[in-house]
């Protein structure tokens, strides 16, 4: 794997005997001519005697961009770091190795490991049709353009923008590749043509799944640009505040970087070792077996560690089918040394059980893989491990240790020699869809909710009525009037003049009392002379009131009235009520 891949995991340390360290990193692995990147040289637990000595590299220009200092207290231990930021501006395309940077500490010179910077020609900046490319553009930068099937290709996607918000994750089209999820992006700044760009760097890994001329990309990325609005000229008629508070326009854009061709070669069929299971990368192998003296039937644990660069998480061990040993499936754990999982260690714990005391060794462990840099297969091997197996009377069934808590959904099993037989009762058939996913369930569940909401509304209305005596009286009088008019109809039909006029006078008092907001009791025909009645009732209304009260008084003294007269009074009363409303 080339140095660019190594660069992707860029924190490289050189330690001295006293624990002081110096490290160097670049904020991006790839850039274009004229686009600066920041080189950070960090001195941990010491202050350098002078500025770091930068190498003279034709095609690169170095300029100081300031220093920063940090202190940390962790568990009572104090750590300090002193960082030099250096702006590196490339002048020519190519792959540069930034080496050797030297930092002076007292009388010694400390050197971090070299870094690699890939510089593209300046004309590779994509042009957008909408002319916004000066404000933002996206780049797709695979670390290589040719690879083997199964070889991991680190990929950088760089979004450059001057000002913007709502940046979405890049959408990478990669047919024929298996693409890892994007871990958290890195943010940095870059200067180009007197403009400062924000740079978001997204890193991922693409693993080609088939041979041929594949296309990695295009990559699309959406964001909202903030573009400064420019007025053509100032005019005294323009709003003086126009453009002062709202000088930026938000422009949603979908940026795109074109696809990059990747030539994918098949793994060679020649010299393919037995047991090769598709591992591609560069690895080392560690293995041990313990205990090395056992009784027949006792387990021996073989611990195997494969470390290196490649698709660590997909590494699997070849099946260890050793004659004379009973083997179980290995338990596997993975330790990733970078977010993409391209560096790390895969650990296998394999339990094997010697079935005979004639066995003298745990056989040799082999791990074949394809080295894409060398372009050939390699086989890592450890062992064999000498083993002493003592004869045993009764082999003891081994137990496999599990790292995690075993499933305990069942109670302690009783001895069972076969499955329990079928059931002869079908049981209640239900839909395969669970209750909670059926619309009918939610419909029914809404009923008590609606009941509660209805009760809540009713209670609010009742409270409003209780707190408003005027409204309450209006309702009571309306109810009384409705019932009274019906009663008057009946009384008029039956010719009960005395009771008719008593009821009529009562209804009249209730209505007048409500309208004048006075108690109904004691209201007589003289009420029409009161100032309130003069103010609120018209002359005709007052006449009608007086007429009805007079008729009522006459009926109580004179006694009899005809049904026709009573109906006429009732009609007058209804007209009066309409007028009063």
């Amino acid at each position: 794997m080339n140095q660019t891949v190594a660069f992707s995991f860029a924190l490289l340390f050189v330690s001295n005997a006293l624990g002081q360290q110096v490290s160097a990193s670049l904020d991006r692995a790839s850039t274009s001519i004229g686009e600066s990147v920041t080189l950070s040289i960090t001195c941990i637990d010491f202050s350098p005697s002078s500025q770091p000595v930068m190498p003279s590299i034709p095609g690169l220009r170095f300029a100081s961009a300031g220093t920063s200092r940090q202190f940390q207290f962790v568990n009572g231990k104090r750590t300090s770091s002193y960082t030099f930021n250096i702006l590196v501006t490339p002048l020519k395309p190519g792959n540069y190795s930034i080496s050797p940077v030297q930092v002076q500490h007292k009388t010694r010179l400390l050197k971090p490991k070299p870094l690699t910077l890939r510089v593209q020609p300046a004309n590779q900046q994509p042009k957008n049709d909408n002319g916004l490319s000066q404000y933002a553009y996206v780049r797709l930068l695979p670390s290589k353009t040719s690879a083997y099937v199964g070889e991991v290709i680190p990929v950088e996607i760089q979004l450059h923008y001057i000002d913007g918000v709502n940046v979405q994750m890049p959408e990478l089209t990669a047919d024929g590749f298996n693409v890892a999820a994007f871990p958290k992006h890195k943010q940095s700044r870059m200067q180009k043509d007197n403009r400062i760009y924000q740079v978001l760097t997204f890193r991922t890994a693409a693993t080609p799944l088939k041979a041929g001329e594949l296309q990695l990309g295009p990559v699309k990325q959406s964001m909202v640009l903030r573009v400064r609005q420019r007025k053509s000229r100032r005019s005294p008629f323009n709003d003086p505040f126009d453009g002062f508070f709202d000088r930026y326009q938000q422009v949603p854009v979908k940026l795109e970087a074109k696809a990059q061709p990747v030539k994918v070669r098949p793994l060679p069929a020649a010299n393919r070792p037995a047991g090769f299971n598709g591992a591609v990368g560069r690895y080392t192998l560690q293995a041990k077996a313990s205990p090395l003296e056992v009784t027949v039937g006792d387990p021996v644990t073989v611990s195997i560690q494969i470390s290196g660069q490649g698709a660590i998480e997909s590494l699997n061990l070849p099946k260890l089918d050793w004659p004379g040993f009973k083997s179980y499936e290995p338990s596997v754990t993975t330790k990733k040394d970078n977010p993409l999982g391209l560096l790390g260690t895969r650990m296998f714990e394999q339990v094997v059980i010697p079935e005979s005391d004639t066995l003298a060794e745990v056989p040799r462990i082999e791990f074949p893989y394809f080295d894409p840099i060398a372009g050939r297969y390699r086989v890592l091997a450890k062992g064999p491990f000498p083993l002493k197996v003592n004869p045993g009377d009764k082999p003891v069934a081994p137990t496999i240790a599990a790292d995690s808590v075993p499933e305990t959904e069942e109670p302690e099993p009783p001895p069972q020699t076969d499955i329990l037989t079928i059931k002869h009762y079908l049981g209640s058939l239900g839909q395969a869809t669970p209750l909670v996913a059926r619309p009918g369930y939610w419909l029914l569940q809404a009923i008590p909710l609606l009941l509660w909401l209805g009760a809540l509304a009713w209670r609010r209305q009742a409270n409003a009525l209780a707190n408003n005596p005027r409204l309450r009286r209006e309702r009571q009088v309306a109810e009384r009037t409705r019932a009274g008019l019906a009663k008057l109809d009946t009384l008029a039909e039956s010719g009960e003049a005395g009771e008719f006029h008593t009821e009529l006078a009562d209804l009249l008092r209730e209505q007048i009392g409500l309208r004048l907001d006075i108690p109904a009791e004691g209201i007589t025909g003289d009420i029409v002379h009161s100032p309130a009645a003069r103010q609120q009732f018209s002359e005709d209304t007052r006449d009608d009131i007086r007429k009805l009260f007079t008729a009522s008084d006459q009926a109580s003294y004179a006694g009899s009235q005809t049904t026709g007269e009573m109906k006429a009074h009732l009609a007058l009363l209804k007209e009066l009520f309409c007028a009063l409303r």
Binding site: N277, T334, I422, K423, L429, L451, W452
Partner: protein, 256 residues
Amino acid sequence: MNPHRRPHRPQIRLGQALGLLAGVLLLADSSPASEAQFEEANRLYETGQFAEAAALYRAATTNGVSANLLFNLGNAHFKAGRLGQAMAAYHQSLRLDPRNPETLANLRFAREQVGIQPPPLTLRQRWLRRLSLGEWTILASGALTLLLLLLTARQLKPGAFAGKPLWIRLPAAGALATVLLLALAAADYFLDERAFVSTAKAVVRNGPLEESPESFKAQDGTELRVYDRKGEFLEIETALGQKGWIHSGNVELLVP
């Protein structure tokens, strides 16, 4: 005619309608066709025609499922030598009736035949799977309905609840807790992406293509956790941490 009965009629009709709605929407029905298929499948099973019995049990599931039907389907698969499909059916039965001792015993026995541990369950999963999702739903619905009825009663008769805040607070806490547990149980149910190897030696590859190199072989009945799908391939991991891609034709999914 008694005039006092008149106002009650609409209420009775409303109650009847609600009951009917509940019955139609929620309650189980019993299909004679399924019953007949079930009986016939049982007969085939008892005469040793396990594969045919399994096919008939499977056909009966199209009209509806029951824990017993899936249990028998698991038994028929097991007897036909299809461990992965048997385990999937037992698991599906347990999703309906999670504490059924016979299903648990048969699942345990099937696992012993496979000889590979299943992926471990978290404490939360073990706890939530003590009840089926239907039981969690009824529990949460009951608690929520009780709370809403009490709230309704409080609006109608505020005096009855005066000085008794716990009459509302306790049911509210119960409803909140059960609804939360229902949400967790539903997430566990619907996001349960498990599969069981259903062929004797299923090839697990490094990538989702037939040309991808073989990574390892998984035996029938191996329980897998499914992470992704690409075309006809599933990205899986075994309980022991082995990862790879397996053709979907080689596995029985817990949730097809």
